[in-house]
């Protein structure tokens, strides 16, 4: 059943994943990495799983005008857990044809590529996201049917940013398990934006596993933007392996969510590689956002920078646990980790835990975290100039998160995010505003 609508390269790992999952079970809060999020509770309700690959009643091309303005992206959809590749029929929509990709570049259904060209998938699939290491990996590997496969061959630069939009849409509570596999060969360059949306306020649970192989000298800029309903549950594990002289910037922006737990696990396995992890969370109501990161410096002369910022209001809960591991022999490592948080209401809670473990002696590392309120002196200064208190608070929150957004090197996305964050703080954010102005949410 699980195998029928997928591909051998994906099916090959299911039995082992099942064993691994049975052995581990849902992680309890006693597992350090899952200390801040109750996983079992999120999985407790009955969710439907669409194993037959029935097509869902939505045409995302019609429901979305997905285009971060001025960022002329090539747009792809994943509907629930499947790559959606029914291109719009002529004349029905105003969607532009995707521009041609450079020769050899593949952006396609993972299941299809795994079927047609298993030699591109099998050597990578499940290699970073080991099901033995993590119960969510195991569960996802056991159940995942499809997802997105991105392959950029040697010395190829994808000139336009790629945008993948995940949408969850169903008439009953639904669990979706999706995968993303990214392979950048030597010298390849890719900019990727993934937007995560729900289209109804059914209970959704999505597990997502992303594996990114960043080859020598390759550049990856990968940002995820979550704007989902409060009834959504998201468990996302992102793994990246960086070869020598490569650079990866991984961004994770949570603009609205239900319960979200993101794990980002980066291995610097080639010398002179560099990773930048940036993250921002804006949460209010009962939203829960937990980011758990690991940067593993395995070899000498690598650099890592990490900046995560949270703005929490109402009864929102935020958690950040960032572990930086500098292994024996990883000399001349340079690493900086910062987590700064604003609690705008006394009922909001933030747990922060930066961890630095160093087993090499010639390194430059720093880490720190702060939890604070808005700066009263700044607030008063602005009010003295006539800026109303609410507006002054907003400008300060916006400035606080702005530092993270400024770390995004995709110019149009950065501008768009500044705009979206401001709208979010003003409470004017349409559910799907990340993807354009004309989106009608919940449209069937």
């Amino acid at each position: 059943m699980l195998d029928t609508h997928s591909a051998p390269a994906l099916n090959a790992l299911r039995t082992q994943a099942f064993e691994d999952f049975r052995r581990q079970g849902f992680p309890s809060r006693k597992v350090e990495r899952y200390r801040y999020t109750d996983v079992a509770a999120a999985f407790a309700p009955d969710y439907g799983v669409n194993l037959r690959g029935l097509s869902i009643p939505v045409n995302p091309y019609e429901a979305f005008r997905c285009d971060v303005p001025n960022l002329s992206t090539s747009l792809y959809f994943v509907a629930n857990d499947r790559f959606y590749d029914t291109m719009p029929r002529g004349g029905e929509t105003s969607i532009k044809k995707r521009p041609a990709l450079p020769e050899g570049v593949i952006i396609d259904s993972l299941a299809r590529v795994a079927l047609e060209r298993p030699e591109l998938v099998a050597p990578y699939y499940g290699r970073l996201a080991r099901s033995s290491k993590d119960a969510i990996n195991a569960l996802n590997t056991m159940l995942a049917q499809d997802g997105v496969f991105i392959y950029v061959p040697r010395h190829t630069v994808v000139p336009r940013p790629i945008q993948v939009v995940n949408i969850l849409r169903a008439d009953v509570p639904l669990m979706a398990n999706r995968r993303m596999l990214i392979v950048l060969e030597e010298g390849a360059q890719l900019q990727l934006l993934v937007c995560d949306h729900t289209m109804d306020d059914h209970d959704f649970l999505a597990t997502q596993v992303v594996e990114a192989f960043v080859g020598e000298d390759a550049h990856l800029e990968f940002h995820e933007l979550e704007e989902t309903h409060p009834t959504n549950h998201r468990f996302s594990n992102t793994y990246a392996d960086l070869s020598a002289h490569s650079v990866a910037t991984l961004g994770c922006i949570t603009l609205s969510c239900g319960l979200t737990r993101n794990r980002t696990d980066v291995t610097l396995s080639g010398e002179d590689s560099e990773v930048n992890l940036i993250g921002a969370v804006v949460a209010d109501g009962n939203q829960h956002a937990d980011n758990n990161t690991l940067i593993d410096h395995r070899v000498p002369n690598c650099r890592s920078n990490e900046l995560y910022k949270y703005v929490l209001d109402d009864s929102a809960v935020g958690a950040f646990a960032g572990r930086v591991l500098v292994r024996e022999g990883a000399q001349k490592t340079s690493s900086r980790e910062t987590n700064a948080n604003l609690c705008a209401a006394p009922t909001a809670r933030m747990y922060t835990q930066p961890m630095l473990e160093i087993y090499a002696d010639d390194v430059k590392c720093s880490h720190g975290s702060t939890v604070g309120q808005l700066n009263d002196a700044a607030l008063f200064y602005m009010r003295q100039r006539g800026v109303p208190e609410d507006e002054a608070r907003l400008l300060l929150k916006f400035a606080f998160v702005g530092e993270v957004i400024d770390g995004i090197r995709l110019d149009a996305l950065r501008d768009r995010l500044h705009y979206l964050v401001e709208k979010r703080f003003r409470g004017e954010l349409g559910r799907c505003a990340g993807c354009g102005e004309n989106v009608k949410c919940g449209e069937r």
């Binding site: 700044a378 109303p388 400035a399």
Partner: protein, 248 residues
């Protein structure tokens, strides 16, 4: 325009101002002098509505309105401006966005439409010239990385943008070099009209050489102990404050 009657102010239970009476009329410039810790900044902060200070007695009216019942932003909209003794840095908030928010809030209060983007930038350019403020500074975050003198100049730039009717300058001269002092002093004078008033807090005569006060007050230990003409400032420059202390 500004009328302060028997004002008593405490902070953290400690009484700082012990019965201030002060009337500033339209068009007048008042200088306020007095040694460190006398309560000059406290008085300016209370006038603009700083929440840390508790008014235990007395009243302040501005053009007939009860100032103490107004929010700080409303006082600003009514035309009161304080050039802070120590202007704060606001990282991440650009000068441009800040000024636009401030100006448009005031316009809204006055029932005016927000200024169009082009007009706003033109206004910024014009007003920058008055205090010779480099546009590198207005392109940065508010006061971020500004030197002490640059911050003071920036205060007067903001005053120029907001066109207040009552300006309070709390030691705006401190931190300014001789040339900057002249620019700021002359800039201030350009902004004066027969309808605008000012309270100028300073320790030195040098700013008063540019901004000629009509009245000079000496504040000692929370009370105004002497009020006179411009010659009082000169005398203080020579003799200090000790001769003015109530028990000397």
């Amino acid at each position: 325009m500004l009328e302060i009657r028997d004002l008593h102010v405490s902070i953290g239970g400690k009484e700082i101002l012990k019965g201030i009476d002060l009337v500033v009329k339209e068009g007048e410039v008042h200088a306020l002098m007095g040694h460190n810790g006398a309560g000059k900044s406290t008085l300016s902060n209370v006038i603009v509505g700083h929440p840390a200070y508790e008014v235990t007695q007395g009243s302040i009216t501005f053009n007939g309105h009860d100032l103490l019942a107004m929010k700080p932003e409303e006082r600003a909209h009514e035309g009161i401006f304080l050039s802070f003794q120590q202007p704060v840095e606001i990282p991440g908030v650009s000068m441009v966005n800040f000024m636009r928010a401030a100006l448009n809030a005031k316009r809204k209060y006055l029932g005016l439409e927000p200024l169009a983007a082009g007009d706003f930038l033109k206004l910024m350019r014009e007003k920058r010239k008055i205090v010779e403020l480099d546009n590198k500074l207005t392109n940065r975050s508010v006061n971020e990385g500004f030197s002490g003198g640059e911050r003071k100049r920036n205060e007067i730039f903001q005053m120029a943008m907001l066109e207040p009717t009552l300006s309070i300058l709390d030691e705006t001269d401190s931190g300014l070099d001789v040339d900057a002092l002249r620019v700021v002093g002359e800039g201030f004078n350009k902004l004066r009209t027969p309808q605008t008033s000012a309270i100028v807090i300073t320790h030195y005569q040098r700013l008063l050489d540019y901004i000629r006060p009509d009245v000079v007050h000496v504040l000692i230990d929370g009370r105004i102990v002497r009020t006179g003409g411009p010659e009082l400032a000169m005398e203080i420059e020579q003799r200090g404050f000790d001769w003015l202390k109530p028990d000397s």
